[in-house]
Subunit: 349 residues, 2 copies
DNA sequence: TTGATTTGCGCAATCGTTTGCGTATAGTTT
DNA sequence: AAACTATACGCAAACGATTGCGCAAATCAA
C-alpha cells in the first residue's frame, strides 16, 4: 500500500479535513490561519501515509520549480565540479535543487539543452560554458529567464556574470617570468571560440607589450582544446619553431601539463631548460613534477558568487546587472626558475 | 510578446485547431491519425510562437519526468565527475535529463535529498554514495522506484549495482608489492562506514593471508575520510608505529597522495624508503612525483553501465536485479620499487 | 441578547498537457 | 445511391496542488 503514493487528497480524507486545509497545514511558515491542532493532525497523517508533494503539480500551479539549471561544457575539467560545488553550497540552503547538463561545447546541443531546461521550468540558469557569441543568451533575456554567466562576460551587458580578471592573471604570470629574466616567452593559447581563450591571449599580448617584450606570430600557438593532448601538441610546435624560447605561458593547467608530457618525450628539462606557468591551480598540480607555478582562481567561490547573483535575480527580475570580477593570484612553485643561465643549444632536437 | 510564454492553447488557437489536435501534432513519432497538412501547420505556428511544452504539466499528466537523479557524496573526488559523465553519455541519448545532488556523506541530508528527488518525480535514481546500511534503499524499493547503485552492492539483492572487484583490486596491489620482495606491508584504510572502505580493507587482509604475510593490528590504520589530509595523518601514524614498514597500500589515490605529503614533511623517500600504491588511477596521478602505482577502475564505464541498468529497470520495473562487477587492473608506475635494499634505520624520526 | 468583528476552514477555479471516446466527414464497396 | 468502414479531429475529464473568496462559527463589546 506504499506502492501507490499518497496524494494530498488522501491525506485530507484521512485527516478528516478539506484538501485545501491540508495543503495549508503542510506548508512551512505562515500557518495561514489554521489551528495548531489541525496542523498537527494533518502532519501526522501525512507522515504516516508517506505523503510527499508532487513537485510537478505544485510547480504547475505556482510556476516556480525551486530548481536551477547549470550548464557546463564538461565535467572533466576540474574547475567545473568546483564551480558546481560552490553553487550547490549556496542554493541548497535556500531549498533549491540543481540540474546539471553538459554540452561539450557543442553549439547544437547547447541550445537543445537550454530548451530542455526551460521546459523543465528551472527558476534560473547558470551558464558556465564559455562559448563566445552565444545566441542562447538573447533568447534567454528576451524570455525573461534569470541567468548568470560564469567565466564569461556578456559584452552587451544583458546578463550578470562572475569572472576572474584574466588579463590581470596572465599579466601576473608574464611579469613573474620577466622578473626572472625571461625575454623570449611563448604563449599556448586556448581555443579562440572560448572567451577564456581570447581574453588570456589578449592579456598575454598586453602584458608583453607593457614589459617591452616583443612577440612574434610564431610565439603564440593556439591549442584546439583545453587538454593535455592539445597542450603537448602545441608545445612540440612551439619548440620546433622557437629554439630560443625560455618560458611558456599556458592558458590553462591542463595545457601546461601537456607541455610536461611533450618535454619529457623530447628530453627538455623543466624548469632548467624552459619555465612554464599554468592557469587555474587545479587540484594536484602542486604534486606534479615539477610542482606547477600557476595562477589561482577560486572556482568554488565563483560558483558561490554566481549563485548569489542568480538568487537575487530570481527574487527580483530586474535586479541590477553586474559583473563580478574576482582577483586571481599567482602561486609560485617549481616549474619556473631564473633564466640567467640560458639553456645549452645542444639540447636534443 | 515573447515574454509570456506560449501555451498549447495559444498554439491551437493560432493554428485554428483544437488543443488536443495540436498536442498530437506536436509529438514525435506516432502521427496519431493526423493529416500531415495539419501537423505541418501546427508545427510552424508553434515555432513562430516559441512554444515549448511545459514539462510539469506534461509530467503531471503522464507521470513520467524523463529525468533521472544522481546522488553523489561529493563532486570533488575526481571519480564522481567521471561517473556522472558516463551516465550522461548514455541517458542523454534517450532524452533523459539528469539532476545531481551531493549529500556529503551526511545521512541526514541524504534522506532529504532523496525525498526531494522523488518529489520531482525522477524516473529513476543512481546512488553513487557509498554509505553502508543505507535505510533509503528499503524505502526506495518499497515504493518501486527504479534505482541502481554504483560502487556499492546491496547485500540483500534488492537493487542492481555496478561495482569493481575491490578485493581483487587490492590483491593486485599486494601481490605486486610482495613480488617486489616487500614483507612488511601496511594498509591505509578508508572510512569504515563506506563500503569501499570495508571491502578494500578486507581485500587487504585476505591477500596478505593467502600470501603468507602476517599483519598486526597496528599495520592497519583507517583514515577518517578519503582526502589528502587524512592520508597524511594516517601515514604519520603508521610510520611512527611501524618502523620496519617498507610498503603502503592506500585505499584510494587521494590517501596515497596524502602519504606523499607526509613523507615529504618527514624526509622519507618514495619509493627508495617506502613504496606506495593507490586506488582509482585518477587523472594526473601519472604526473605526480613519483608517478603513482595504482589500481585502475574505469569510472566512466561504471557510470555508463549503471545508466544502462537503470534504463532497463525503468522500462521494465521487474527486470532482473544483477550486480555488474568490473575488473580492476594494476597500473605500475614509479611509486613502488624492489624492497631488496631495506631503507636505512637512521632515517630522521 | 444583538450586532460587529475576527478566525477557521471549505468551495471551486486554475495551472498546461494528455488521451479515451465520440462524432462528423471522406472514402470505399455493393 | 445506400450502406458501410476508415479516418481526422473535437470534447472533456483527468493529473495533484494552490489560493482567492466566502460562509459559518467563535469571540468580543455593548
Amino acid at each position: 500500500m506504499e506502492k501507490t503514493k499518497a496524494t494530498l487528497k488522501d491525506v485530507a480524507k484521512a485527516a478528516g479535513v478539506h484538501i485545501s486545509t491540508a495543503s495549508r497545514a503542510l506548508k512551512a511558515e505562515p500557518q495561514h490561519r489554521i489551528t495548531p491542532d489541525v496542523v498537527e493532525r494533518v502532519r501526522i497523517v501525512a507522515g504516516k501515509l508517506g505523503y510527499r508533494v508532487n513537485a510537478f503539480a505544485s510547480s504547475l500551479r505556482t510556476k516556480r520549480s525551486n530548481a536551477i539549471g547549470i550548464l557546463i561544457p564538461d565535467l572533466w575539467n576540474p574547475g567545473f565540479p568546483a564551480i558546481v560545488t560552490g553553487v550547490q553550497d549556496v542554493v541548497s540552503r535556500e531549498g533549491y535543487e540543481i540540474t546539471i547538463a553538459s554540452d561539450g561545447n557543442d553549439l547544437e546541443r547547447h541550445a537543445a539543452v537550454i530548451e530542455n531546461m526551460l521546459a523543465r521550468q528551472v527558476d534560473g540558469l547558470i551558464l558556465a560554458t564559455a562559448i563566445l557569441k552565444d545566441p542562447a543568451i538573447a533568447s534567454l533575456v528576451s524570455r525573461n529567464v534569470p541567468a548568470v554567466m560564469v567565466n564569461r562576460r556578456d559584452d552587451q551587458g544583458r546578463a550578470p556574470s562572475v569572472i576572474t580578471d584574466d588579463e590581470r592573471g596572465i599579466a601576473l604570470a608574464v611579469e613573474h617570468l620577466a622578473s626572472l629574466g625571461h625575454r623570449h616567452i611563448c604563449h599556448i593559447a586556448g581555443p579562440q571560440n572560448l572567451s577564456t581563450g581570447v581574453t588570456r591571449k589578449r592579456g598575454f599580448l598586453e602584458a608583453a607589450k607593457t614589459l617591452g617584450l616583443k612577440v612574434q606570430e610564431s610565439q603564440i600557438v593556439v591549442a584546439d582544446s583545453y587538454s593535455r593532448d592539445a597542450g603537448a601538441r602545441a608545445a612540440s610546435r612551439i619548440i620546433t619553431q622557437n629554439r630560443q624560447v625560455t618560458a611558456l605561458v599556458a592558458a590553462n593547467d591542463l595545457l601546461a601539463l601537456g607541455c610536461y608530457d611533450s618535454f619529457r618525450a623530447s628530453g627538455i628539462r623543466c624548469p632548467a631548460d624552459v619555465s612554464i606557468t599554468g592557469y587555474n591551480d587545479m587540484p594536484l598540480v602542486d604534486l606534479v613534477s615539477p610542482p606547477l607555478t600557476t595562477v589561482r582562481v577560486d572556482h568554488r567561490q565563483m560558483g558561490a558568487e554566481a549563485a548569489h547573483l542568480l538568487l537575487r535575480r530570481i527574487g527580483n527580475t530586474n535586479a541590477p546587472v553586474v559583473d563580478l570580477v574576482l582577483r586571481p593570484t599567482l602561486v609560485v612553485r617549481a616549474s619556473t626558475s631564473s633564466a640567467a643561465v640560458r639553456r645549452s643549444s645542444k639540447r636534443p632536437s
